[in-house]
């Protein structure tokens, strides 16, 4: 038997991604802390001038300095076509390459990648976190996906795993994973609604948690959602307001200054976070030409701005309850998951609907990854004491006469689920039967999501003689498999598959080979290179700031402290201890806080060339 490496649970999020494992000693799952001291790995990927790809925190820092080589929220592009994402392009700085294929290609500097490849860089980063933690190979994973992801989006996620060198044992729906972690933690039984409002997606799932002689069953009753509704949309509303005000009051159009937009976005996100606990948040961002955007947001104003977005979550919530044949009072617990549920308006809205205060005792950022680790452990141990019965979020159908969709597997069917259909020929000597498979709730094929078109080859003969039995099977990952059996002839026929969106096997295989070169680099070696680069950036910025005339206002003791920190950082950057370099970077950041303020407030802020406050 081949020796396998470790297995982990991964939450591949829109904004942040996390990796978790089952701590058998403690009896509960844990998230792995990354090299920057956080369990959150920003879902950001950046490409260097020399072609090196970096992911995570280091890439996020480059959003400000090299926005055109850096990408965030790539999850929004997974499993979608160029046509699908036109709306996103208004709000996100994605550089989509024109292509006639059915997969989006994104330009990052000189290179072009598909969304699964970009996601694979994030997965590789998390894999390296885990390998560094275990001092062992990690080769298998359970990855979570939004419950409302369709077949193409799920397949794209699975492809990303493969490209990252991970065997994806299962895709688990995010709210279901959260319920698993939550149920384990609370020993909760009964009916639970999971309201999962993340960075880019919204899901609602209703579940029944049952104890049986064999163990606990987590049975999903219904699920609904919106795969393009999240905290990102809230950020975009704030950004829209700010850019409009900047144009109106300062006469500045930020379209030509992507770095400025990212600075502004970062400051607005910070204000959004502050407004979860404070009544007021101040935004203060240096722009071009010595201009500043200064603005106070009150919570009341913030809530008025985002109310339409929060209201959009309630349609899916009502539908999910109706599909489960439940009314709000029949839900024993409402559980909040995802960073956006920290917003008081969201909590209030959910609490009012269910008539009870929602639960949020587990960290809403970590709970999905923790659940993924639980499921990973179940699959790894071979002893099942907990069973997840999940559902397919969308109805599966085939196109019939007149472009009408015949539903063959209804939404909210427990998966695996299947349906069999018999096909025959309509005219004499017909040699093929065309099939079009779709996902969605609408009546007409043109309004549903096309999954694939393919042909069943049949031997020529009289009309109606051929008998081809086609079996549609949605597996436990929510991914469709189609098999066709010719019941009349003994011959084997091949089907020409034209997946509507997505990569074929050969493409994934090629990407896996290409990506291996990125994996070769040792974890600590990479950390060292990244931390040295950061050190260089901050040293340069400090030097620049010290050369400017505001320095005269700096007390002597402070100046001495800065000089000392600079020396220490220079020293450590010559060594090979990346942790020490990071500590010294933080130290210098601290020491230069006042200096940065002086420069910010002074007339000569241009000397900083748009560097972030804590980079100075």
């Amino acid at each position: 038997m081949e020796i396998k490496g470790r297995i982990v649970g991964i939450d591949l999020g829109t904004t942040y991604s996390l990796v978790a494992y089952m701590d058998h000693g403690a009896g509960h799952p844990r998230c792995i802390v990354g090299p920057y001291g956080s369990t959150l790995c920003p879902s950001v990927v950046s490409v260097d001038e020399d072609g090196t790809v970096i992911a995570g925190e280091a890439a996020q820092r480059r959003l400000l300095t090299q926005p055109e080589r850096t990408i965030y929220s790539v999850k929004r592009l997974m499993g979608r076509s160029v046509e699908d994402v036109q709306d996103e392009l208004k709000h996100f700085p994605f550089h989509i390459e024109p292509s006639n294929g059915n997969v989006i290609r994104v330009r990052l500097g000189e290179k072009v990648f598909t969304p699964p490849e970009i996601s694979a860089f994030i997965l590789r980063e998390l894999k390296s976190w885990a390998e560094n933690f275990f001092k062992d190979t990690v080769d298998r994973a359970v990855i979570t996906v939004p419950a409302y992801f369709n077949d193409a989006q799920r397949q794209a996620t699975k492809d990303a795993g493969r490209i990252a060198g991970l065997e994806v044992l299962r895709l688990v729906n995010e709210p279901t994973a959260a319920a698993l972690a939550y149920g384990l933690h609370k020993q909760q039984r009964g009916r639970v609604a999971v309201y999962d409002f993340g960075g880019g997606t919204f899901d609602i799932s209703t579940l029944k948690l049952i104890s049986t002689d064999e163990g606990d069953i987590y049975q999903v009753l219904s699920t609904n959602g919106d795969t393009h509704l999240g905290g990102d949309d809230i950020d975009n509303v704030l950004l829209g307001v700010a850019r409009q005000e900047i144009r109106r009051d300062l006469g500045l159009d930020l379209s030509a200054h992507p770095g400025c937009v990212q600075d502004l976005r970062k400051a607005l996100i910070l204000a959004k976070h502050q407004l979860s606990s404070a009544e007021k948040a101040e935004v203060h961002v240096p722009l071009e030409d010595g201009k500043f955007y200064v603005r106070d947001f009150t919570r009341r104003e913030f809530e008025l701005l985002i109310e339409p977005i929060v209201a959009r979550t309630m349609g899916p919530v009502k539908q999910a309850l109706a599909d489960a044949k439940l009314v709000p009072s029949q839900i024993d617990e409402a559980v909040l998951v995802g960073g956006s549920t920290r917003i008081p308006l969201v909590r209030r809205t959910v609490g009012e609907y269910f008539g009870r205060a929602p639960h949020c005792e587990l960290n809403p950022d970590e709970v999905v990854a923790l659940g993924a680790a639980v499921q990973a452990d179940i699959l790894d141990s071979g002893v099942t004491t907990m069973l997840l019965l999940d559902v397919t979020p969308l109805s599966l159908g085939i196109e019939t006469m007149g472009g009408v969709v015949a539903k063959i597997i209804p939404r909210n069917s427990t998966i695996p689920a299947s349906a069999q259909e018999m096909f025959t020929t309509g005219v004499e000597n017909q040699t093929a039967i065309d099939l079009h498979v779709l996902q969605g709730e609408r009546e007409l094929a043109k309004d549903c999501r096309s999954l694939a078109r393919f042909q069943l080859k049949v031997p020529p003969g009289p009309a109606g003689l051929a008998r081809i039995e086609v079996k549609f099977l949605i597996d436990a990952n929510g991914i469709l498999q189609v098999t066709a059996r010719d019941l009349r002839t003994g011959e084997l026929h091949t089907i020409e598959v034209q997946p509507s969106y997505g990569l074929n096997d050969a493409e994934v295989e090629r990407m896996l080979e290409e990506s291996i070169e990125f994996a070769e680099q040792d974890f600590s070696e990479r950390q060292l290179i990244e931390s040295r680069n950061e050190a260089e950036t901050i040293l340069k910025a400090t030097e620049k700031a010290l050369n400017n005339e505001t320095v005269a206002e700096l007390p002597k003791a402070e100046r001495a402290a800065i000089d000392q920190s600079v020396e220490r950082l220079r020293d450590s950057a010559r060594g090979s201890d990346y942790k020490l370099i990071r500590t010294n970077i933080d130290e210098l950041n601290q020491a230069t806080m006042h200096l940065a303020e002086l420069v910010m407030n002074g007339a000569l802020h241009n000397a900083l060339e748009g560097k972030r406050l804590d980079d100075v």
């Binding site: 077949d151 397949q155 044992l169 049952i210 049986t212 064999e214 163990g215 069953i217 179940i378 699959l379 790894d380 071979g382 099942t384 069973l387 997840l388 019965l389 015949a406 209804p410 069917s413 427990t414 998966i415 695996p416 689920a417 299947s418 349906a419 498979v437 999954l451 694939a452 393919f454 069943l456 080859k457 099977l473 949605i474 597996d475 436990a476 991914i479 469709l480 498999q481 189609v482 098999t483 066709a484 059996r485 010719d486 019941l487 002839t489 003994g490 011959e491 084997l492 026929h493 091949t494 089907i495 598959v497 997946p499």
Partner: protein
Amino acid sequence: MSVTQTRAETAAGTSCWSCKAATNGAHFCPACGKIQPLPRDTNYFTLFGLPEKLGIDAGALEQQFHKLSWKLHPDNFVRADEFERNLSLERSSELNDAYRTLSDPLARVEYLLERGGMRKEGTTKQQAPPELLEEVFELNESLDELREARESGEDLNELRGRLEPAQKDFQGKLADVDGELNAVFEKWDAALDSGASKDARAALMAQMNEILNRRSYIRNLVANVEQELAKTS
């Protein structure tokens, strides 16, 4: 998604595919414990060990569903070889399909009729039941007026006032049909118990089929009215 076309049938016999011991249609081989393909003559009822009756205890069905899920779910076969993994996928999807069908009384009776060759998908007649013709005609007229009034921005209150009682009326008819259906369900179960003739059972099936067609017609009508009223409120 992935697609393959093959005629390779999973061997579904009375002996174990692995150790050749007699299985007698069990889910797992009594000798070696390996998961078995679904025997050819299995249907959704026999899969749960139930007679083809329409009265099913929902709690007991769910318990049986959970018991079988523990055994057949792909989670249990992650370490097994490809053949067994595929068997588990096939078997657990059958189980889920069966539970989905039997746990819903309407899907249950439709399945029974389909098996009896009494009901084929896509051939359901969407004709107004003769005794309802007049009322349906009036209702459709009111719906048309409502649509027109909405488009021209006229006052809708009067029309709403006319439609709402009609809606209640048809909802009542739907409840009546459900009552009729339940009564035939009981007759069917009693007929099975008393070993009724094939002809007697066929007659009951025909009756159920007629009621289902009527029900489907009224259900669509109610849904239409609900939709139109929702648009005006």
